[in-house]
C-alpha cells in the first residue's frame, strides 16, 4: 500500500454529468439503502424511545406505568454525584488506556518490524490478548492473576518487595485500566505495524546515507509517516474503550464504592438495580449528547484520516 498524504488528490469519485438521469442517481443509491435503513431503525428508534422515556416518571417495580414528569429526570441526573463521577471516570479510563496502549503499540510495532528468529510466533503471542473473550480476561485477571493470596502477579513481584497486595481493593481503577490496556495494545500494534511496513525502504536508505542514525530517522521520518495510522488507532480504540463494560462488571462490580464505575456501568446499574427507566433514559440522553459533542471533535480528526483513506484509492 502506498500512502499518499497529498490532501489535494481528488477522491475516486466519478463526476456525475449534469442532467444525469434521476433513475441513475437512484440506482446508485439503492445498494446503500438496506444497510442504512437497518441501522437507522435499530439504533435510532431505541434512541427516540429513550428520549420519550426520559421525560417520563417510570419505575419498573412500581405499579401505574409511566407518566409525564418534564425535566425532573434531567435535574436528577445533573445533580447526581454518581453520574458526574462516572463521567469523569470514563474519561480518565478511556484517555489513559488509549494513550498507554498506543505508546506500547508503537513500541511493540517497532520491535516486531525487524526480522528476527521466531517473529511470526512472537506476533501470534502478542495478538492473543485481543482475541481473549473480554469477560474471560476480566475474570482471569481478577482471580488467578490479581488475587492477594494466590495471584500470579503478587508472586512475580515478590522479589521486588511487593507483599500480597489486594489489587482490586487498593488499586481498583488502575487494575481495570491495566486490563483494558492489555486487551487493546495488540490492536494498536497491528495498525502501527501496518504503517511501519508501508514506509518505502528507499526513503529510509536515503536517510541512512544522509547521516541519520536510528533515533533521528524515527523522529524525523517515521513518526510523521505514522501519524495518520496513530490517529486511526486512537479513533477506533477510543470508540471501543469508552464502552468497556465487562471488565468493570466482572472485576470490581464498579467498586470499591463507585471508584471504578464508568458510564456504561452506571447506566447498567440504573436500569438493573434502581429499576428507574426514566432516570436511566435521561442519563442515557445526556450521555449521547456528550458523546456527540466529543465525536464532532473526533470527526474533524477523522476527516483527515478519511482523506488519507481515500487518497489511498
Amino acid at each position: 500500500m502506498t500512502v499518499v498524504e497529498d490532501l489535494a488528490v481528488p477522491p475516486r469519485t466519478e463526476v456525475l454529468p449534469r442532467g444525469m438521469g434521476r433513475r441513475e442517481r437512484w440506482l446508485r443509491r439503492l445498494p446503500l439503502l438496506p444497510a442504512l435503513i437497518y441501522v437507522v431503525v435499530v439504533t435510532q428508534i431505541p434512541f427516540v424511545v429513550t428520549l420519550w422515556y426520559s421525560f417520563q416518571n417510570y419505575f419498573w417495580d412500581q405499579p401505574g406505568g409511566a407518566h409525564f414528569t418534564g425535566l425532573s429526570n434531567y435535574k436528577t441526573v445533573f445533580t447526581s454525584p454518581t453520574f458526574r463521577g462516572s463521567l469523569v471516570r470514563s474519561v480518565v479510563m478511556t484517555v489513559t488506556a488509549v494513550i498507554v496502549a498506543m505508546i506500547l503499540g508503537v513500541a511493540l510495532a517497532v520491535l516486531l518490524d525487524r526480522k528476527f528468529f521466531g517473529r511470526g510466533v512472537a506476533r501470534t503471542l502478542v495478538i492473543t490478548p485481543f482475541l481473549v473473550m473480554p469477560a474471560a480476561a476480566a475474570l482471569v485477571w481478577a482471580g488467578p492473576m490479581l488475587d492477594p493470596n494466590f495471584g500470579l502477579l503478587n508472586y512475580l513481584l515478590a522479589p521486588f518487595g511487593v507483599h500480597h497486595v489486594a489489587w482490586l481493593s487498593t488499586h481498583a481503577l488502575g487494575s481495570v485500566i491495566v486490563v483494558m490496556i492489555w486487551q487493546w495494545t495488540p490492536f494498536m500494534t497491528l495498525i502501527v505495524l501496518a504503517g511501519l511496513q508501508s514506509q518505502p525502504t528507499e526513503t529510509l536508505e536515503a536517510a541512512k546515507v544522509d547521516g541519520a542514525g536510528a533515533l533521528a530517522t524515527f523522529r524525523e521520518l517515521t513518526l510523521p509517516h505514522l501519524r495518520p495510522y496513530i490517529e486511526l488507532g486512537i479513533l477506533l480504540g477510543s470508540i471501543y474503550l469508552v464502552n468497556v463494560f465487562d471488565a468493570v462488571r466482572l472485576m470490581t462490580n464498579g467498586g470499591p464504592g463507585t471508584s471504578t464505575t464508568n458510564l456504561p456501568f452506571y447506566l447498567y446499574q440504573e436500569v438493573n438495580n434502581a429499576f428507574d427507566v426514566g432516570g436511566a433514559a435521561a442519563a442515557g440522553v445526556v450521555t449521547v449528547i456528550l458523546t456527540i459533542i466529543v465525536a464532532s471533535f473526533a470527526l474533524r480528526m477523522f476527516a483527515r484520516v478519511f482523506q488519507f483513506e481515500e487518497a489511498r484509492a
Partner: protein, 362 residues
C-alpha cells in the same frame, strides 16, 4: 574529492547462489565520471549499493580516497546518493529535504539555508519551490531536488542509481547533458548506474560494462566501441546493435553473404591457432556500406525503417543466417524486396570465439 576502488568486491545474496557481484576490481580516478552499465541482473545497482554501504560486502573490499570503508556505515563514508525513485522525504519541504543531511551534521541553520539556496540555484530550481512538498512537484523537479540533496553535502563521491529512468524521453535527453555539465563543473568523483548504453556512452569518462555480476570491460566509450573485448560488450555497446552471426571458417576467410570474406590478419591467425571450424562475426550496421551492385555481400531487403536522417535496412544475406541490420542514407533508401549489395572494410570486421565469446585478435 577522492578516488574509488573496488577490490575483488563480492556479494552473494543467498548461500549457494551465484554471486550478484563477482570479484569486482574497478579503479575510479579522482574527479572521474564512471558509468556502470549492463542489462538487468548484471549487478550494477548492487555494486553501487556496496559502495554506498547499503549492501554488505561478503568478500573483498572497497576504498574511498585510499581509505578502506568496507565496514564503515554509509553516513561516515562522505558520499551522497541519488536514488532511482528519488526517495524524497514526503513530509518535508524541498528545502528541508535538501538540508536534511546538513541538519544531521549539526550544521548551523544559516549555513544550511545558504548552501541549500546555492544548490537550488545551481540546479535551476525556483526559490518558490523550496517551501513545497515533494507531492506538489513534477517528476523533473523532484529529480532535481534529489540531485540538490546530494550536491548540498559536498561529498567525496556522488552515487547515482538510474536517476533518469523515471523521466520521459525528451526530459531525459535534456537532463542527461545537465548532469554531465554539472559534474564537469563540480569535479566530484561520480559513479553512475544505468541500463541505457546511450547514457553510458555520452556521459561517462569511462564506462564499466557488467554482466551477471562480472566486469566485462572498463574503458573509454571510444575504446569500448572500437575495441570491444568480447562478444557481449560488442553487442551491448552501439545502437543499433552490432550484427553478430556464427559463420563457418574456411581457408580464405569466412563464409558470409554468399562469398568468402577475408578476416583481419590477427583475427585469422588467432582462429587458426585455436583450431576453430567456425566463429562469430561482428559487423556494425554503420560499417555495412550500401554499394550499387559492386559490393561483396549480397542480400535482399526485408524491411526498411525510415528515421529521417538515416534509414535502417533489415537484410537477409545470401547463404542463410539471421537478418542483419544496415544503416543507409535516409534520402533514397532501397525498397522492400530489392536486392542489394554491401561493401565492408576488412578492419571493421570483428571475430569472436564461438564458445567463450572472447575477441579473436593478435
Amino acid at each position: 574529492m577522492a578516488n574509488v576502488r573496488y577490490l575483488s568486491a563480492t556479494r552473494v545474496f543467498s548461500k549457494g547462489a551465484p554471486p550478484a557481484v563477482d570479484a569486482l576490481d574497478l579503479d575510479v580516478k579522482d574527479g572521474e565520471f564512471m558509468v556502470l552499465v549492463g542489462p538487468s541482473g548484471s549487478g550494477k545497482t548492487t555494486a553501487l549499493r556496496m559502495l554506498a554501504g547499503l549492501e554488505p560486502i561478503d568478500r573483498g573490499g572497497v576504498e574511498i580516497g585510499e581509505r578502506d570503508v568496507t565496514q564503515v556505515p554509509p553516513k561516515d563514508r562522505d558520499i551522497a546518493m541519488v536514488f532511482q525513485n528519488y526517495a524524497l522525504y514526503p513530509q518535508k519541504t524541498v528545502a528541508e529535504n535538501m538540508g536534511f543531511a546538513l541538519k544531521m551534521q549539526h550544521v548551523p541553520r544559516a549555513d544550511r539555508d545558504r548552501r541549500v539556496r546555492e544548490a537550488a540555484r545551481l540546479l535551476d530550481l525556483d526559490e518558490k519551490l523550496l517551501d513545497r512538498k515533494p507531492k506538489q512537484l513534477s517528476g523533473g523537479q523532484r529529480q532535481r531536488v534529489a540531485m540538490g540533496r546530494a550536491i548540498v553535502r559536498e561529498p567525496k563521491v556522488f552515487l547515482m542509481d538510474e536517476p533518469l529512468s523515471n523521466l520521459d524521453a525528451k526530459l531525459r535527453v535534456q537532463t542527461r547533458s545537465q548532469i554531465a555539465e554539472l559534474q564537469r563543473r563540480l569535479g566530484v568523483t561520480t559513479v553512475y548506474v544505468t541500463h541505457d548504453q546511450v547514457e553510458a556512452m555520452t556521459m561517462g569518462h569511462r564506462v564499466a560494462v557488467l554482466r551477471e555480476g562480472r566486469l566485462q570491460q572498463c574503458d573509454t566509450p571510444r575504446q569500448l566501441y572500437d575495441n570491444p573485448v568480447n562478444q557481449f560488450v560488442a553487442g551491448f555497446i552501439g545502437s543499433p546493435a552490432m550484427n553478430l552471426q556464427t559463420v563457418p571458417l574456411t581457408d580464405g576467410g569466412v563464409q558470409l553473404g554468399g562469398t568468402t570474406f577475408p578476416l583481419p590478419a590477427a583475427a585469422g591467425a588467432a582462429a587458426k591457432q585455436a583450431g576453430l571450424k567456425e566463429l562469430v562475426i561482428g559487423i556494425r550496421p554503420e560499417h555495412l556500406h550500401l554499394a550499387d551492385g559492386s559490393g561483396e555481400l549480397r542480400g535482399e531487403v526485408l524491411l526498411v525503417e525510415e528515421l529521417g536522417a538515416d534509414a535502417l535496412l533489415h537484410v537477409r544475406l545470401a547463404g542463410a543466417g539471421d537478418p542483419v541490420v544496415a544503416r543507409a542514407e535516409g534520402r533514397r533508401p532501397p525498397a522492400q524486396g530489392q536486392g542489394v549489395t554491401f561493401h565492408v572494410q576488412t578492419d571493421d570486421v570483428f571475430a569472436f570465439h564461438p564458445v567463450t565469446g572472447a575477441r579473436l585478435a593478435g
